[in-house]
Amino acid sequence: MEAIRNYLETMFANLPNTPEVLRAKNELWQMMEDKYNELIADGKSDNEAVGTVIAEFGNLDEISEDLGIRNVVSGTQDITRRQVTMEEVKKYLHESSNYAFKISLGVFLCISSPIGAILSEAASFSSLVGLFFLMAFVATAVILFVHSSIRIHRWDFLKQELCTIDFATTNYVNDQKERYNPTYALLMTVGIVLCVISFVPAAIIDELDISFFGFDTDDMAGVLLFVFVATGVFMIVLSYNINNTYTTILKLNNASTVSGNYVSSQHPETKYISPAAASIMSVYWQTVTCIYLIWSFLTFNWHYTWIIWPIAGIISGVLNSAFKKN
């Protein structure tokens, strides 16, 4: 049955995504499915049944006239797309997850780099030791960034060239994505919660005035803050990047053909009411980040500039519902 489905999807993959074409595909699928089921009920083997169904399918040329797709069927369009095989996709998924992990680890190291400095200062070592720790963390992060970026570079064609994947591959990736979804949701949630509550342990320690192994409470509070934020951001960056990997693959097909329908019907891309709205939304978070950094660095009121984030989140929700096309 799977073989028949793949056959039909492949035959239709490059046809335009119109109601007539989709209806034709659906009707033909009904007939093929009925025939297959009956052959199996008659005691034929799976191979025989698939062979008979495909042999008796006919030729799309015959229906091209009714569908107004004559020039497409004869193959004048869409031949420049690069076919990405199942093996390539599996390899990409593997390497890309690896990349996501290294990048997230790099971010983690960058954020937690002051920890070493704080601790060595608290232990009243020379400030050189603290600087050494800081540099070591950042240097490791840079190595991770550069190395993994170069490694992932060879997959750039997925984003730069027109590519296409077949139905079986789409199914496989979609399946993987579904399976990853609970992990994604968990990592995202815990990550965000960690960032939000990052100041809580610091506040508690400060309040109770507990001393850890002779370290100053202020130092300890700082260390915990960095650990929470770094861990939270690590989780967010990792899960977001891995999820993105699946989306990249699933978006490869030409959306104006039947093959573009494999997934887009389940995960429609956001459409905005006007190009202006779309361009505003595309730079929204970058702008917010800019405002946050400028405001914070100018005033050094880091303890309350963070209020920008929840406010920006609410505004983003409002804008999205106002600009989104149904």
Binding site: A24, E38, I63
Partner: protein, 121 residues
């Protein structure tokens, strides 16, 4: 056994389908199965041929489609039923075939006249 030439039969796919729809509304696979049985597997209609005939005849108003799951399998299928225009068209096609047969018959040698017992199909 010679296989049937699709060029020859093409003009009569409509007749075949309309004949089956005259009895009761039906769906794609049932029609293709009936054609296979009635012709003792001498003619097996391709899925694309069948679908193309459906869309063409629907456009011309000879048949109508509707969705139903009345065969009890719980699966929704597209059924087709014949219209009044379809019945008229079927009659015309039958008349056309009788004429065609009459004309062509004049040019077909009788079996014993060409010296072999080759089967005509």
């Amino acid at each position: 056994m010679n296989s049937i030439s699709s060029d020859v039969i093409r003009g009569y796919n409509d007749t075949i389908i309309l004949f089956l729809l005259l009895q009761h509304p039906s769906y794609g696979y049932e029609i293709s199965k009936q054609i296979k049985t009635l012709t003792e597997e001498k003619y097996i209609i391709k899925e694309t041929t069948l679908y193309s005939a459906f869309t063409r005849m629907e456009k011309n108003g000879y048949i109508e489609s509707f969705s139903s799951n009345k065969d009890g399998s719980g699966k929704r299928r597209t059924y087709y039923r014949i219209t009044e225009a379809g019945r008229q068209y079927y009659k015309d096609k039958c008349a056309e075939w009788n004429l065609t047969k009459e004309v062509i018959e004049n040019f077909i040698l009788k079996e014993d006249n060409y010296g072999s017992n080759q089967e005509l199909s």
